[in-house]
Symmetry: C2
């Protein structure tokens, strides 16, 4: 029987799967249904499109649907929403959003790559003009147009996570007056305070007002948003960004009876197959394994989505690949700082039941005598019982983002602090000190725990 592969969702996971399936099986029929108008796009690029660092809107996606269709011999149907999956019948019910026509499409193998959706709190005012979420390219276009037309001066970003901080940085860069509201006592609340205190100082040094420990109660305005009401104050504004996080978009899967995991995302095996044979899932709607804890983990990020998509595509086309999981690597730019994490923070590790020890050290990006050497603060967390490293957090003005990768690899290899302390990391005066940040932290933590 000819393979008839159907993919629901045309972003990172879906298109990676389509591309890989085509590589593995040149003759399979492959169809992608994408609800929106763009495929294989890079939402991570939106802040840099807002600042103008990414000049052309077209740079935010890798292919047009036409290009992908032609080059890969894949049917890519945009503005097509899959409304229902019929597991027993092995069909999907699709609506063409341009004319409302509905049809059924059969499949031999299905990939659910429906991604995640932004959390919009149930408060008044979220549909006022000037209130934006940041998830897809339409959001980016509309926000860019709003800024050009309305020239807002005062913006309130609600949510002090990665996206909130990146967009706050972008707004500041283009001269706006930025306030940030975060419900928890600190921004990036999963990280430890040795790190977040440095980032908060950087925000304030750049003139951003931080309102921490305040929750969002409502948005007010006369058609256009004019005020944000928090649990502690009212903030005037002309623009509001809701960056309260995302949740896995699992409605279709749930309705079809495809089991979810403990995280609320779709449960998959290492080959990305769900509990229903022939039905796969990849990307932000599906779970993965956290290699450090060995437990299911939901990590909606482009790196995981691309990898899971490639693996799903391989397996759907008759190949065999397994996804080992994630160590939770994440980096971001906040004003002049690079912030990077791999593994668990100490508070996350403690919440998972580990008995932890940690060390926080200050190293430098280059040999200290080399021009423009910058401080790097590194916190390393270990499991006291096994001496395994559980996580590393880093922050500094330079050279941080790619330094976290060595920590990520060490976490993949489940190294102990005693192993990490002697890693053969690169040194030359223009690039690093002899004891680079990771091994410096490892030495410090080793010495204080023996």
């Amino acid at each position: 029987m000819e393979r008839d592969i159907v993919i629901v969702g045309g972003c990172a996971a879906g298109m990676s799967a389509a591309a890989q399936a085509r590589r593995v099986d040149p003759s399979a029929k492959i169809t992608v249904f994408e609800k929106g108008g763009y495929i294989s796009y890079a939402p991570c690029g939106i802040p840099y499109f807002i600042t103008g660092e990414v000049k052309r809107f077209e740079d935010l996606y890798v292919y047009t649907p036409e290009q992908f269709s032609q080059q890969r011999n894949v049917d890519v149907l945009v503005h097509h929403e899959v409304k229902r999956i019929n597991v027993g019948e092995r069909t999907v019910e699709v609506v063409d959003l341009r004319d409302g026509k509905e049809f059924k499409k059969g499949f031999t193998t299905l990939l659910i790559a429906t991604g995640a959706v932004p959390i919009i709190p149930p408060i008044p005012g979220t549909s006022l003009k000037g209130v934006f979420k940041l998830r897809d390219l339409d959001d980016a276009l509309q926000l860019k147009r709003f800024i050009e037309e309305e020239k807002p001066r005062k913006v309130v970003v609600v949510g002090g996570g990665y996206i909130g901080l990146e967009i706050a940085t972008a707004f500041h860069q283009i001269g706006m007056d930025v306030s940030l509201v975060e419900m928890k006592e600190h921004i990036l609340p999963n990280l430890d305070e040795e790190i977040t205190s440095i980032i908060e100082r950087e925000c304030r040094d750049n003139g951003v007002e931080l309102f921490l420990g305040e929750s969002l109660l409502g948005l007010e305005g006369d058609g256009k948003v004019r005020q944000v009401q928090t649990s502690a104050r009212r903030l005037d504004c002309e623009l509001v960004i809701l960056a309260l996080g995302v949740r896995p978009n699992v409605q279709l899967a749930k309705q079809a009876g495809i089991p979810l995991g403990v995280t609320g995302a779709i449960r998959v095996k290492m080959d990305q197959e769900t509990d229903i044979p022939g039905i796969y899932s990849a990307g932000d709607c599906s779970e993965t394994k956290h290699i450090v804890s060995g437990k299911p983990y939901w990590f909606p990020i482009a790196t995981v989505a691309n990898k899971q998509g490639r693996i799903a595509g391989e397996n759907m086309a008759g190949g065999r690949l397994l996804f080992p999981g994630t160590v939770g690597t994440q980096v971001m730019k906040v004003f002049g700082l690079e912030v990077a994490v791999a593994g668990f923070s100490e508070k996350e590790a403690m919440a998972l039941g580990y008995e932890t020890a940690s060390a926080t050290v200050r190293s430098s990006s280059n040999a200290s005598y080399y021009p423009d050497s910058q401080a790097i603060t590194t916190k390393m967390v270990m499991d006291v019982k096994t001496r395994r490293v559980l996580g590393v957090q880093m922050v500094g003005r330079k050279g941080v983002a790619k330094r976290i990768d060595s920590a990520a690899v060490a976490l993949h290899a489940q190294m102990t602090v005693d192993e990490v302390a002697w890693l053969d990391l690169s040194y030359a005066p223009p690039f690093a000190p002899v004891w680079d940040a990771l091994i410096h932290a490892g030495q410090s933590l080793r010495a204080k725990t023996i």
Copy 2:
């Protein structure tokens, strides 16, 4: 019995050992004999002192002997050369080079940290004025003074290894006319040509004349050097740098009957002890283990010297630490390029008897749509039999040096190409593409070898 620790050599390994021994045993007697006038200095910083990027000569050493003596309670005796080790008697014979007085000093534990010495070829003219080696701080001072006083315009660098290329870059930066002579057919002859061809082009693009496959026959001049005679031509010059590599300085050890290893450097166990109980060795004069091959390896580099020194110091003072070895990580700046290596090149691997496969890929330093994204060329080499990664070489204008560290950690963990291909490396548009260089190379090599 009170510990009476004697350390021969006051550079990276010796001073790291002294510092660590003092931390472990606050009451041990610790004496360092250093033949030259400086301790704990950074020869790697010399090129940047020549260009003026490192402004003050004092920045090239971490401590003065006085500072170290006072702060650590260690007797640091500079201008003191150890002439002989009497193993049976457990004494060293020392000469004070300032007055020629000789004396004996007993020890309970000894560290030989005599480093490496530059190879000076047995050809005429090496002692002409204007001919320099680059090893210690006196070389740096004399070279800097020579340049200031004589204002040489034409320099010939002999040797296309790391040091030759770094100093060629420095001379070019201060406006000199640079030629480079290398005996082998390519610069950095241990690396593969996919990488060295890029570096050679960069040298030539910067106006450096490369004379490859030519050996040095002699230097000529009238007191001052005026010409370099190679096997193929005569080159006019006013300055010559001899950068033909180094050899382990093992004369003292050899004379004392301390066994050398197969590499010609002093054989040590993982605790840095030699075959003679109570006598340790660390740094450029001693061997280490190459973690990838599992074989003895000689790797004269600051990172290894510092680690071995710290481990020797710990163990000499009654502690217990083991050095796992090196994976051969090395980075350098050549004109606008960052060059980085971990593990073996394909030619090295083949010479060691491995059946190899490799992939060379071109990735980017940042998301491709992000401003100033630069190409990174990565070559990955694997052992066909075990699928283990044997080495990674990278070159590019940006973000290369610290990217090699993830390869280094993967080599420590003896990962296969199938593991490396899915590593959770960091991604954000300002810092990396979704498939970063190492995993991109891993994917490519995996796909072509299954």
